[in-house]
Symmetry: C2
Subunit: 112 residues, 2 copies
């Protein structure tokens, strides 16, 4: 059975956010993202993948589709395919986020 403990798997670095892959297949990926105080994940969009972000611990300013909201523990947000989104830890504690995207963007046939 393919089990990972998110509290054990998460990582932080003084330099930048750390993304740890938990599971992946062509159908989806599931990562845990660790952002220390002041760190951010820059804006990104997946053209053909929907994403769900779930706040495991901490607080973060989440931006999607031009709107920014402060999210806290046990908040979940869905980002539809094509929507630019970013997250920033503007607080003083660590921010741990579970990130899922489906299908896995690396396996989506690219539009040229």
């Amino acid at each position: 059975m393919d089990v990972r403990n998110v509290a054990d798997a998460r990582r932080f670095s003084p330099d930048k956010g750390v993304r740890v892959p938990l599971f992946e297949s062509e159908r989806m990926f599931c990562d845990v993202l660790g952002l220390g105080p002041g760190q951010e994940r820059p804006p990104v969009a997946h053209e053909e993948s929907d994403a769900v972000y779930y706040v495991v611990e901490g607080r973060g300013d989440f931006t999607a589709g031009g709107v920014t909201r402060a999210l806290g523990e046990k908040d979940a947000v869905r980002v539809p395919a094509g929507q630019v989104h970013a997250v920033r830890n503007g607080g003083t504690g660590n921010l741990t986020i579970l990130v899922l995207a489906a299908p896995h963007p690396n396996y989506v046939s690219r539009r040229v």
Copy 2:
């Protein structure tokens, strides 16, 4: 922005487990499952969808592919497409699980 708080959204019933849909699209669904003490979600398999289960609170006995493990808070398990899986709350407290499956089984073309 499509935000749901899992602690607010979860539901429990004395009769049986309660599944609350949070997000859904053709690409995935994300539900929160509330199981009271002694309640279970019977075995199921999604022929063409991978699933991730994440324990938000409590403890549960998770079975997948014929193996059973006790999972606790912040454990995540991936169930590959086609694998029969079930979960039972054998404890005395509530069990809250985030469930994601991709693609959404209802939109996968059925094999006849």
